[in-house]
Protein backbone atom coordinates (compact mmCIF):
# COMPACT_ATOMS: atom_id res chain seq x y z
CA UNK A 1 0.00 0.00 0.00
CA UNK A 2 1.51 3.32 -1.03
CA UNK A 3 1.28 5.58 2.02
CA UNK A 4 2.54 9.09 2.50
CA UNK A 5 3.53 10.20 6.01
CA UNK A 6 3.81 13.73 7.32
CA UNK A 7 5.85 14.67 10.39
CA UNK A 8 5.82 18.17 11.86
CA UNK A 9 5.93 17.81 15.65
CA UNK A 10 9.00 19.97 16.12
CA UNK A 11 11.52 21.75 13.94
CA UNK A 12 11.38 19.30 11.03
CA UNK A 13 8.73 19.21 8.33
CA UNK A 14 9.24 15.74 6.92
CA UNK A 15 7.42 13.79 4.25
CA UNK A 16 8.01 10.12 3.53
CA UNK A 17 6.44 7.59 1.21
CA UNK A 18 6.46 3.85 1.80
CA UNK A 19 5.07 0.85 0.02
CA UNK A 20 4.96 -2.52 1.71
CA UNK A 21 7.31 -1.26 4.41
CA UNK A 22 9.88 -0.08 1.89
CA UNK A 23 10.84 3.57 1.91
CA UNK A 24 10.35 5.14 -1.51
CA UNK A 25 11.01 8.71 -0.49
CA UNK A 26 12.02 10.79 2.47
CA UNK A 27 12.25 14.53 2.14
CA UNK A 28 12.42 17.27 4.73
CA UNK A 29 12.99 20.90 5.56
CA UNK A 30 14.40 21.82 8.93
CA UNK A 31 13.89 25.02 10.82
CA UNK A 32 17.33 26.00 12.02
CA UNK A 33 17.47 26.67 15.69
CA UNK A 34 19.67 29.58 16.54
CA UNK A 35 21.42 29.94 19.86
CA UNK A 36 18.26 31.24 21.50
CA UNK A 37 15.98 28.27 20.84
CA UNK A 38 12.76 28.61 18.94
CA UNK A 39 9.27 30.06 19.06
CA UNK A 40 6.58 27.52 18.09
CA UNK A 41 4.60 30.00 16.00
CA UNK A 42 7.71 30.86 13.97
CA UNK A 43 8.45 27.21 13.31
CA UNK A 44 4.83 26.59 12.34
CA UNK A 45 5.06 29.43 9.84
CA UNK A 46 8.22 27.89 8.45
CA UNK A 47 6.41 24.55 8.07
CA UNK A 48 3.44 26.20 6.37
CA UNK A 49 5.74 27.84 3.84
CA UNK A 50 7.44 24.52 3.05
CA UNK A 51 4.63 21.98 3.25
CA UNK A 52 3.51 21.86 -0.38
CA UNK A 53 7.03 21.95 -1.73
CA UNK A 54 8.28 19.09 0.47
CA UNK A 55 5.25 16.94 -0.38
CA UNK A 56 5.84 17.50 -4.10
CA UNK A 57 9.51 16.75 -3.73
CA UNK A 58 8.74 13.44 -2.01
CA UNK A 59 6.29 12.40 -4.75
CA UNK A 60 8.82 13.30 -7.37
CA UNK A 61 11.64 11.41 -5.71
CA UNK A 62 9.39 8.32 -5.41
CA UNK A 63 8.36 8.78 -9.03
CA UNK A 64 4.71 8.91 -8.10
CA UNK A 65 1.72 11.14 -8.75
CA UNK A 66 -0.85 12.25 -6.22
CA UNK A 67 -3.25 9.71 -7.67
CA UNK A 68 -0.87 6.83 -6.79
CA UNK A 69 -1.20 7.50 -3.06
CA UNK A 70 -3.48 5.04 -1.26
CA UNK A 71 -3.24 6.22 2.32
CA UNK A 72 -2.02 9.04 4.56
CA UNK A 73 -0.40 9.20 7.96
CA UNK A 74 0.44 12.21 10.10
CA UNK A 75 1.92 12.86 13.51
CA UNK A 76 -0.90 13.31 16.01
CA UNK A 77 1.55 14.06 18.83
CA UNK A 78 3.35 14.53 21.07
CA UNK A 79 4.81 17.81 19.96
CA UNK A 80 4.27 21.53 19.75
CA UNK A 81 0.66 22.44 18.99
CA UNK A 82 1.24 25.01 16.25
CA UNK A 83 3.75 22.72 14.51
CA UNK A 84 1.60 19.60 14.72
CA UNK A 85 -1.27 21.65 13.33
CA UNK A 86 0.52 22.20 10.03
CA UNK A 87 1.15 18.52 9.36
CA UNK A 88 -2.34 17.61 10.46
CA UNK A 89 -3.95 20.16 8.17
CA UNK A 90 -1.79 19.12 5.22
CA UNK A 91 -2.71 15.49 5.81
CA UNK A 92 -6.39 16.27 6.12
CA UNK A 93 -6.39 18.32 2.95
CA UNK A 94 -4.63 15.54 1.05
CA UNK A 95 -6.98 12.88 2.39
CA UNK A 96 -10.02 14.89 1.29
CA UNK A 97 -8.59 15.63 -2.10
CA UNK A 98 -7.42 12.08 -2.81
CA UNK A 99 -10.29 10.33 -1.01
CA UNK A 100 -7.94 7.91 0.76
CA UNK A 101 -7.95 6.72 4.39
CA UNK A 102 -5.96 8.54 7.05
CA UNK A 103 -4.16 7.34 10.19
CA UNK A 104 -2.97 9.50 13.12
CA UNK A 105 0.43 8.32 14.39
CA UNK A 106 2.25 8.67 17.69
CA UNK A 107 5.67 10.22 17.14
CA UNK A 108 7.49 8.02 19.66
CA UNK A 109 5.90 4.85 18.34
CA UNK A 110 7.05 5.86 14.85
CA UNK A 111 10.66 6.19 16.01
CA UNK A 112 10.60 2.83 17.75
CA UNK A 113 8.62 0.90 15.17
CA UNK A 114 10.61 2.14 12.18
CA UNK A 115 13.81 1.12 13.95
CA UNK A 116 12.40 -2.23 15.00
CA UNK A 117 11.07 -3.05 11.54
CA UNK A 118 14.08 -1.91 9.54
CA UNK A 119 16.57 -3.63 11.84
CA UNK A 120 14.46 -6.80 11.75
CA UNK A 121 13.76 -7.16 15.45
CA UNK A 122 10.83 -8.95 17.03
CA UNK A 123 10.32 -7.70 20.55
CA UNK A 124 13.26 -5.54 21.63
CA UNK A 125 13.98 -3.38 24.61
CA UNK A 126 13.84 0.02 22.93
CA UNK A 127 15.93 2.93 24.13
CA UNK A 128 14.27 6.04 22.74
CA UNK A 129 16.57 9.01 23.05
CA UNK A 130 15.86 12.38 21.48
CA UNK A 131 15.79 16.02 22.53
CA UNK A 132 12.91 15.89 24.95
CA UNK A 133 12.63 12.12 25.36
CA UNK A 134 14.67 9.49 27.07
CA UNK A 135 12.73 6.34 27.69
CA UNK A 136 13.21 2.60 27.87
CA UNK A 137 10.25 0.71 26.46
CA UNK A 138 9.01 -2.71 25.57
CA UNK A 139 5.95 -4.00 23.78
CA UNK A 140 3.11 -5.07 26.03
CA UNK A 141 -0.03 -6.80 24.76
CA UNK A 142 -2.33 -5.91 27.63
CA UNK A 143 -4.85 -4.32 27.66
CA UNK A 144 -4.00 -3.60 24.00
CA UNK A 145 -0.76 -3.77 22.03
CA UNK A 146 1.34 -0.78 23.06
CA UNK A 147 4.82 0.23 24.16
CA UNK A 148 5.13 0.20 27.89
CA UNK A 149 7.51 2.63 29.58
CA UNK A 150 9.92 0.64 31.76
CA UNK A 151 12.16 3.53 32.61
CA UNK A 152 12.58 7.17 31.75
CA UNK A 153 14.17 10.45 32.67
CA UNK A 154 12.95 12.19 35.79
CA UNK A 155 13.71 15.57 34.31
CA UNK A 156 15.14 16.47 30.89
CA UNK A 157 15.85 14.37 27.82
CA UNK A 158 19.45 13.42 27.13
CA UNK A 159 19.40 15.31 23.82
CA UNK A 160 18.31 18.54 25.45
CA UNK A 161 20.91 18.04 28.14
CA UNK A 162 23.72 17.65 25.60
CA UNK A 163 22.38 20.56 23.56
CA UNK A 164 22.14 22.86 26.55
CA UNK A 165 25.71 22.03 27.38
CA UNK A 166 26.80 22.60 23.79
CA UNK A 167 25.19 26.03 23.92
CA UNK A 168 27.06 26.85 27.13
CA UNK A 169 30.27 26.00 25.26
CA UNK A 170 29.12 28.07 22.27
CA UNK A 171 28.95 24.99 20.07
CA UNK A 172 26.09 24.31 17.64
CA UNK A 173 23.44 22.23 19.38
CA UNK A 174 22.46 19.12 17.43
CA UNK A 175 21.41 16.32 19.75
CA UNK A 176 24.87 15.91 21.01
CA UNK A 177 26.74 15.50 17.75
CA UNK A 178 28.84 18.60 18.41
CA UNK A 179 29.60 17.26 21.89
CA UNK A 180 30.61 13.94 20.37
CA UNK A 181 33.10 15.58 18.02
CA UNK A 182 34.54 17.71 20.77
CA UNK A 183 34.82 14.73 23.15
CA UNK A 184 37.43 12.91 21.13
CA UNK A 185 40.71 12.63 22.99
CA UNK A 186 39.20 14.02 26.20
CA UNK A 187 39.91 12.57 29.61
CA UNK A 188 37.45 11.84 32.36
CA UNK A 189 36.68 14.21 35.20
CA UNK A 190 34.30 12.98 37.84
CA UNK A 191 30.62 13.64 37.14
CA UNK A 192 27.42 12.94 39.08
CA UNK A 193 25.72 9.69 38.21
CA UNK A 194 22.01 9.44 38.88
CA UNK A 195 20.14 6.19 38.33
CA UNK A 196 17.19 4.74 40.23
CA UNK A 197 16.20 1.33 39.02
CA UNK A 198 15.39 1.89 35.37
CA UNK A 199 14.95 5.66 35.70
CA UNK A 200 17.60 8.32 35.50
CA UNK A 201 18.01 12.07 35.65
CA UNK A 202 20.28 14.48 33.85
CA UNK A 203 19.96 17.93 35.42
CA UNK A 204 22.52 17.20 38.15
CA UNK A 205 25.02 16.17 35.50
CA UNK A 206 24.32 19.25 33.39
CA UNK A 207 24.60 21.65 36.33
CA UNK A 208 27.89 20.14 37.44
CA UNK A 209 29.41 20.15 33.94
CA UNK A 210 28.36 23.76 33.36
CA UNK A 211 29.89 24.81 36.67
CA UNK A 212 33.22 23.33 35.60
CA UNK A 213 33.45 25.15 32.26
CA UNK A 214 35.90 27.82 33.36
CA UNK A 215 38.29 25.37 35.03
CA UNK A 216 38.34 22.25 32.88
CA UNK A 217 39.20 21.97 29.17
CA UNK A 218 36.06 21.74 27.02
CA UNK A 219 37.07 18.44 25.44
CA UNK A 220 37.42 16.80 28.87
CA UNK A 221 33.99 18.07 29.86
CA UNK A 222 32.41 16.87 26.63
CA UNK A 223 34.02 13.48 27.04
CA UNK A 224 32.93 13.23 30.67
CA UNK A 225 29.34 14.41 30.28
CA UNK A 226 28.89 12.00 27.39
CA UNK A 227 30.43 9.01 29.15
CA UNK A 228 28.44 9.65 32.32
CA UNK A 229 25.13 10.16 30.53
CA UNK A 230 25.56 7.15 28.24
CA UNK A 231 26.71 4.94 31.11
CA UNK A 232 23.47 5.80 32.86
CA UNK A 233 21.43 4.92 29.78
CA UNK A 234 23.42 1.72 29.27
CA UNK A 235 23.02 0.54 32.83
CA UNK A 236 19.26 1.11 32.89
CA UNK A 237 18.84 -0.51 29.48
CA UNK A 238 20.84 -3.49 30.71
CA UNK A 239 18.60 -3.75 33.76
CA UNK A 240 15.48 -3.66 31.57
CA UNK A 241 16.95 -6.36 29.35
CA UNK A 242 17.54 -8.66 32.29
CA UNK A 243 14.29 -7.93 34.05
CA UNK A 244 12.26 -8.80 30.97
CA UNK A 245 14.47 -11.71 29.86
CA UNK A 246 14.63 -10.05 26.47
CA UNK A 247 17.31 -10.80 23.87
CA UNK A 248 17.17 -7.72 21.67
CA UNK A 249 18.08 -4.09 22.23
CA UNK A 250 17.44 -1.28 19.80
CA UNK A 251 18.16 2.43 19.99
CA UNK A 252 16.18 5.15 18.23
CA UNK A 253 15.59 8.89 18.20
CA UNK A 254 17.90 11.78 17.39
CA UNK A 255 20.61 10.87 19.92
CA UNK A 256 20.82 7.39 18.35
CA UNK A 257 23.00 9.06 15.73
CA UNK A 258 25.78 9.30 18.29
CA UNK A 259 28.29 6.56 17.52
CA UNK A 260 29.70 6.37 21.03
CA UNK A 261 26.19 5.62 22.37
CA UNK A 262 25.80 2.85 19.80
CA UNK A 263 29.19 1.43 20.67
CA UNK A 264 28.29 1.35 24.37
CA UNK A 265 24.90 -0.27 23.78
CA UNK A 266 26.48 -2.82 21.50
CA UNK A 267 28.75 -3.81 24.39
CA UNK A 268 25.73 -4.15 26.68
CA UNK A 269 24.04 -6.41 24.15
CA UNK A 270 27.19 -8.44 23.58
CA UNK A 271 27.68 -9.06 27.26
CA UNK A 272 24.26 -10.71 27.46
CA UNK A 273 24.22 -12.42 24.07
CA UNK A 274 21.51 -10.09 22.85
CA UNK A 275 21.15 -8.63 19.37
CA UNK A 276 21.66 -4.92 18.93
CA UNK A 277 19.66 -2.99 16.34
CA UNK A 278 19.82 0.53 15.03
CA UNK A 279 19.13 2.28 11.77
CA UNK A 280 20.98 4.57 9.45
CA UNK A 281 21.81 8.02 10.82
CA UNK A 282 19.28 10.29 9.14
CA UNK A 283 16.33 8.00 9.84
CA UNK A 284 16.85 8.56 13.57
CA UNK A 285 16.12 12.24 13.19
CA UNK A 286 12.48 13.26 12.84
CA UNK A 287 11.25 12.22 9.41
CA UNK A 288 8.09 11.46 7.47
CA UNK A 289 9.05 7.94 6.41
CA UNK A 290 8.69 6.58 9.93
CA UNK A 291 5.19 8.08 10.12
CA UNK A 292 4.32 6.52 6.76
CA UNK A 293 5.61 3.12 7.92
CA UNK A 294 3.43 3.06 11.01
CA UNK A 295 0.45 4.50 9.14
CA UNK A 296 0.69 1.78 6.50
CA UNK A 297 0.54 -0.91 9.19
CA UNK A 298 -2.42 0.80 10.83
CA UNK A 299 -4.29 1.12 7.56
CA UNK A 300 -3.55 -2.46 6.53
CA UNK A 301 -4.92 -3.56 9.91
CA UNK A 302 -8.09 -1.70 9.00
CA UNK A 303 -7.44 1.01 11.52
CA UNK A 304 -8.18 4.27 9.72
CA UNK A 305 -9.78 7.28 11.39
CA UNK A 306 -12.56 9.22 9.71
CA UNK A 307 -11.37 12.68 8.66
CA UNK A 308 -13.65 14.61 11.01
CA UNK A 309 -12.43 12.53 13.97
CA UNK A 310 -8.76 13.31 13.30
CA UNK A 311 -7.07 15.71 15.68
CA UNK A 312 -3.75 16.55 17.27
CA UNK A 313 -2.72 15.79 20.85
CA UNK A 314 0.28 17.74 22.14
CA UNK A 315 0.77 15.32 25.02
CA UNK A 316 0.00 12.09 23.22
CA UNK A 317 1.68 9.54 25.47
CA UNK A 318 3.63 6.81 23.78
CA UNK A 319 2.07 4.18 26.03
CA UNK A 320 -1.47 5.22 25.17
CA UNK A 321 -1.00 4.60 21.44
CA UNK A 322 -2.15 1.28 20.05
CA UNK A 323 0.44 -0.47 17.91
CA UNK A 324 -0.45 -2.61 14.89
Amino acid sequence: MRVIGIESSAHTFGVGIVDDGKILAKEKEMFHIGTTGMIPAEVAEFHTDNAAEVINRALKSANLNYSDIEGIGYTRGPGLGPCLQVGYLSAKTLAKKLKVPIAPVNHGVAHIESTRLISGMKDPIALYVSGGNSQILKMDNKPFKHYRVLGETFDIGVGNMLDSFARELKLTPSWGSSIEKKASGGKYVEMPYSVKGMDFSFTGLLTKAVSMIPDVPAKDLCFSIQEAAFSMLAETTERALLLTNSDEICVCGGVAQNSRLKQILNLVAKEHGARFGFIEGALNADNGAMIAMVAERMLLAGHSTSIDKCDIEQRFRVDSAEVF
Binding site: G37, L80, V149, P173, D199, E227, E235, E271
Partner: protein, 194 residues
Protein backbone atom coordinates in the same frame (compact mmCIF):
# COMPACT_ATOMS: atom_id res chain seq x y z
CA UNK B 1 29.90 -21.99 41.34
CA UNK B 2 27.89 -19.19 39.75
CA UNK B 3 24.28 -19.33 40.97
CA UNK B 4 22.91 -16.03 39.86
CA UNK B 5 23.57 -13.22 37.52
CA UNK B 6 21.96 -9.90 38.31
CA UNK B 7 22.19 -6.67 36.41
CA UNK B 8 25.50 -5.66 37.89
CA UNK B 9 26.97 -8.55 39.81
CA UNK B 10 27.66 -12.22 39.71
CA UNK B 11 26.55 -14.36 42.58
CA UNK B 12 28.77 -17.28 43.57
CA UNK B 13 28.06 -20.05 45.97
CA UNK B 14 31.16 -20.68 48.02
CA UNK B 15 32.02 -23.06 50.77
CA UNK B 16 34.34 -21.30 53.15
CA UNK B 17 35.55 -23.29 56.17
CA UNK B 18 32.56 -25.58 55.85
CA UNK B 19 30.16 -22.68 55.78
CA UNK B 20 28.05 -22.29 52.66
CA UNK B 21 27.73 -18.68 51.65
CA UNK B 22 26.80 -16.42 48.78
CA UNK B 23 29.37 -14.00 47.38
CA UNK B 24 28.17 -11.04 45.37
CA UNK B 25 30.95 -9.71 43.16
CA UNK B 26 30.54 -6.59 41.10
CA UNK B 27 32.15 -7.37 37.77
CA UNK B 28 33.90 -4.93 35.53
CA UNK B 29 31.54 -3.63 32.82
CA UNK B 30 33.14 -3.28 29.42
CA UNK B 31 30.61 -0.67 28.41
CA UNK B 32 31.77 1.86 30.99
CA UNK B 33 35.19 3.46 31.07
CA UNK B 34 37.26 2.26 34.06
CA UNK B 35 37.28 5.79 35.51
CA UNK B 36 33.52 5.51 35.99
CA UNK B 37 33.36 1.78 36.53
CA UNK B 38 35.84 1.21 39.35
CA UNK B 39 34.86 3.89 41.85
CA UNK B 40 31.22 3.08 41.19
CA UNK B 41 31.65 -0.60 41.94
CA UNK B 42 33.65 0.12 45.07
CA UNK B 43 31.16 2.72 46.28
CA UNK B 44 28.16 0.52 45.64
CA UNK B 45 29.70 -2.50 47.32
CA UNK B 46 30.46 -0.55 50.48
CA UNK B 47 27.09 1.12 50.51
CA UNK B 48 25.14 -2.03 49.81
CA UNK B 49 26.78 -3.94 52.65
CA UNK B 50 26.22 -1.02 55.00
CA UNK B 51 22.55 -0.70 54.15
CA UNK B 52 21.96 -4.44 54.46
CA UNK B 53 23.29 -4.25 57.98
CA UNK B 54 21.10 -1.24 58.77
CA UNK B 55 18.03 -2.99 57.32
CA UNK B 56 18.73 -6.15 59.23
CA UNK B 57 19.03 -4.18 62.47
CA UNK B 58 15.67 -2.57 61.69
CA UNK B 59 14.13 -6.03 61.53
CA UNK B 60 13.82 -6.31 57.76
CA UNK B 61 14.39 -9.78 56.40
CA UNK B 62 17.68 -9.53 54.46
CA UNK B 63 20.61 -11.93 54.02
CA UNK B 64 23.04 -11.70 56.91
CA UNK B 65 26.31 -9.98 55.89
CA UNK B 66 29.38 -12.04 56.76
CA UNK B 67 32.26 -10.04 55.25
CA UNK B 68 32.93 -7.21 52.78
CA UNK B 69 35.74 -6.98 50.20
CA UNK B 70 36.66 -4.30 47.63
CA UNK B 71 34.05 -5.38 45.08
CA UNK B 72 32.44 -8.27 46.95
CA UNK B 73 30.00 -8.99 49.73
CA UNK B 74 29.96 -12.33 51.52
CA UNK B 75 26.51 -13.13 52.82
CA UNK B 76 24.16 -15.79 54.08
CA UNK B 77 22.61 -18.00 51.39
CA UNK B 78 18.86 -17.65 51.02
CA UNK B 79 16.84 -20.63 49.79
CA UNK B 80 13.79 -20.46 47.53
CA UNK B 81 13.17 -18.53 44.34
CA UNK B 82 12.93 -15.01 43.03
CA UNK B 83 9.45 -13.52 43.04
CA UNK B 84 9.83 -12.84 39.33
CA UNK B 85 10.24 -16.55 38.64
CA UNK B 86 7.19 -17.83 40.48
CA UNK B 87 3.45 -17.46 40.14
CA UNK B 88 2.66 -14.15 41.77
CA UNK B 89 -0.14 -13.91 44.31
CA UNK B 90 -2.11 -11.49 46.44
CA UNK B 91 -0.46 -12.91 49.57
CA UNK B 92 3.06 -12.25 48.29
CA UNK B 93 2.22 -8.78 47.03
CA UNK B 94 0.73 -7.82 50.38
CA UNK B 95 3.71 -9.15 52.25
CA UNK B 96 6.11 -7.37 49.98
CA UNK B 97 4.11 -4.13 50.33
CA UNK B 98 4.22 -4.35 54.12
CA UNK B 99 7.93 -5.09 54.06
CA UNK B 100 8.60 -1.99 51.96
CA UNK B 101 6.54 0.10 54.38
CA UNK B 102 8.68 -1.12 57.28
CA UNK B 103 11.84 -0.46 55.33
CA UNK B 104 10.75 3.10 54.48
CA UNK B 105 9.68 3.75 58.04
CA UNK B 106 13.15 2.80 59.18
CA UNK B 107 14.69 5.31 56.78
CA UNK B 108 15.82 3.07 53.93
CA UNK B 109 14.77 3.40 50.29
CA UNK B 110 15.64 0.39 48.16
CA UNK B 111 16.05 1.98 44.73
CA UNK B 112 15.36 -1.22 42.76
CA UNK B 113 12.34 -2.74 44.44
CA UNK B 114 11.18 -5.22 41.81
CA UNK B 115 10.32 -8.94 41.73
CA UNK B 116 13.89 -9.56 40.56
CA UNK B 117 15.16 -8.49 43.97
CA UNK B 118 12.77 -10.29 46.27
CA UNK B 119 13.27 -13.93 47.22
CA UNK B 120 10.47 -16.21 48.34
CA UNK B 121 10.90 -19.31 50.41
CA UNK B 122 7.69 -20.84 51.67
CA UNK B 123 5.82 -17.83 52.95
CA UNK B 124 9.01 -16.04 53.95
CA UNK B 125 10.16 -13.04 51.86
CA UNK B 126 13.75 -11.83 51.82
CA UNK B 127 14.78 -8.55 50.24
CA UNK B 128 18.09 -8.63 48.38
CA UNK B 129 20.16 -6.30 46.20
CA UNK B 130 20.64 -3.07 48.13
CA UNK B 131 22.96 -1.87 45.40
CA UNK B 132 20.90 1.22 44.64
CA UNK B 133 19.51 1.70 48.14
CA UNK B 134 19.90 4.81 50.24
CA UNK B 135 19.12 6.29 53.63
CA UNK B 136 16.28 8.70 52.98
CA UNK B 137 12.91 9.83 54.26
CA UNK B 138 12.15 11.73 51.06
CA UNK B 139 8.62 10.86 49.82
CA UNK B 140 9.88 11.27 46.26
CA UNK B 141 12.49 8.54 46.68
CA UNK B 142 9.97 6.32 48.43
CA UNK B 143 7.55 6.85 45.55
CA UNK B 144 10.21 5.58 43.15
CA UNK B 145 10.21 2.25 44.99
CA UNK B 146 6.46 1.99 44.40
CA UNK B 147 6.79 3.10 40.81
CA UNK B 148 9.34 0.39 40.04
CA UNK B 149 7.05 -2.27 41.42
CA UNK B 150 4.14 -0.79 39.52
CA UNK B 151 6.05 -1.13 36.27
CA UNK B 152 7.11 -4.70 36.97
CA UNK B 153 3.84 -6.42 37.82
CA UNK B 154 0.27 -6.46 36.52
CA UNK B 155 -2.17 -3.76 37.55
CA UNK B 156 -4.12 -6.13 39.79
CA UNK B 157 -1.03 -7.39 41.61
CA UNK B 158 0.20 -3.85 42.07
CA UNK B 159 -3.12 -2.83 43.65
CA UNK B 160 -2.66 -5.46 46.39
CA UNK B 161 0.88 -4.29 46.95
CA UNK B 162 -0.01 -0.62 47.18
CA UNK B 163 -2.96 -1.24 49.46
CA UNK B 164 -0.83 -3.18 51.92
CA UNK B 165 1.93 -0.56 51.72
CA UNK B 166 -0.36 2.39 52.37
CA UNK B 167 -2.01 0.66 55.34
CA UNK B 168 1.26 -0.38 56.93
CA UNK B 169 3.32 2.74 56.29
CA UNK B 170 3.53 5.78 58.51
CA UNK B 171 3.26 8.16 55.52
CA UNK B 172 1.56 5.88 53.03
CA UNK B 173 -0.91 8.45 51.81
CA UNK B 174 1.74 11.11 51.27
CA UNK B 175 3.89 8.67 49.32
CA UNK B 176 0.94 7.65 47.19
CA UNK B 177 0.27 11.29 46.41
CA UNK B 178 3.91 11.79 45.54
CA UNK B 179 3.76 8.76 43.26
CA UNK B 180 0.92 10.33 41.28
CA UNK B 181 2.95 13.52 41.02
CA UNK B 182 6.11 11.69 39.90
CA UNK B 183 4.19 9.78 37.27
CA UNK B 184 2.50 12.90 36.01
CA UNK B 185 5.79 14.72 35.71
CA UNK B 186 7.57 11.91 33.95
CA UNK B 187 4.99 10.44 31.66
CA UNK B 188 2.87 13.38 30.69
CA UNK B 189 5.90 15.46 29.95
CA UNK B 190 5.43 16.90 26.49
CA UNK B 191 8.27 16.95 24.07
CA UNK B 192 10.21 20.04 24.81
CA UNK B 193 12.53 21.50 22.28
CA UNK B 194 16.10 22.52 22.15
Amino acid sequence: MVIGEGAEAQIYLENILGLEMVVKVRQRKEYRIPEIDEPMRRRRTRKEAGLMIVASKAGINVPHVIAVGKFSIYMEKIGGKLLKDIQNSKTYMEKVGKELARMHDSGIVHGDYTPANIMISGNETTIIDFGLADMSLDPEQKAVDLLLMKRSVTRGMYAHFEHAYVNASRNGTAVKKQLAETERRGRYQSRTLS
